[in-house]
Amino acid sequence: SAVISQKPSRDICQRGTSLTIQCQVDSQVTMMFWYRQQPGQSLTLIATANQGSEATYESGFVIDKFPISRPNLTFSTLTVSNMSPEDSSIYLCSVRPPGGYGYTFGSGTRLTVV
């Protein structure tokens, strides 16, 4: 299965600032997914990132707030923009390994906005 490296693992940020989260995979994958895990809530898909095309956002998530880059088949970034305390959450990167059907997750980025 694929191995995902996600950075940073945690951060504390001031409201109004932005944070970029990086996701590196050890194999080439077509799609990469970004999820959010709010305290006491279920994991929720933010967007799907395909290499060479615009990310597809789920209802309730917009590109201005969560811009995503996908420059190649092994890397993606998610930016959380103009942060507020409500953005405090765990953000997770996920991929579907080639030939596999068990989606793999990174270790997550725990974000606290103060």
Partner: protein
Amino acid sequence: EDQVTQSPEALRLQEGESSSLNCSYTVSGLRGLFWYRQDPGKGPEFLFTLYSAGEEKEKERLKATLTKKESFLHITAPKPEDSATYLCAAIRQGGSEKLVFGKGTKLTVNP
């Protein structure tokens, strides 16, 4: 709207005390049902995928089963190292790769 509900929210067991976790789903055309284990401070770790009613999969002390409305994760003779949050997720037929997760069951196994 697709929905996944897990019960109970939390479960405490004594070592060796077998039990089951429940995942009920409302998904228009189920393509797959996933079970994950999540330890504190880590991302979900893949356990099983089930595709059709009647299917069962096993891994060590864990066995997952699937019906047309729900899935069960049976834990036989659990050990303290089985303590974790267990997540269930569903994916629907069609082109979407979106996993719809439940809130999870936090399992604690006491020695």
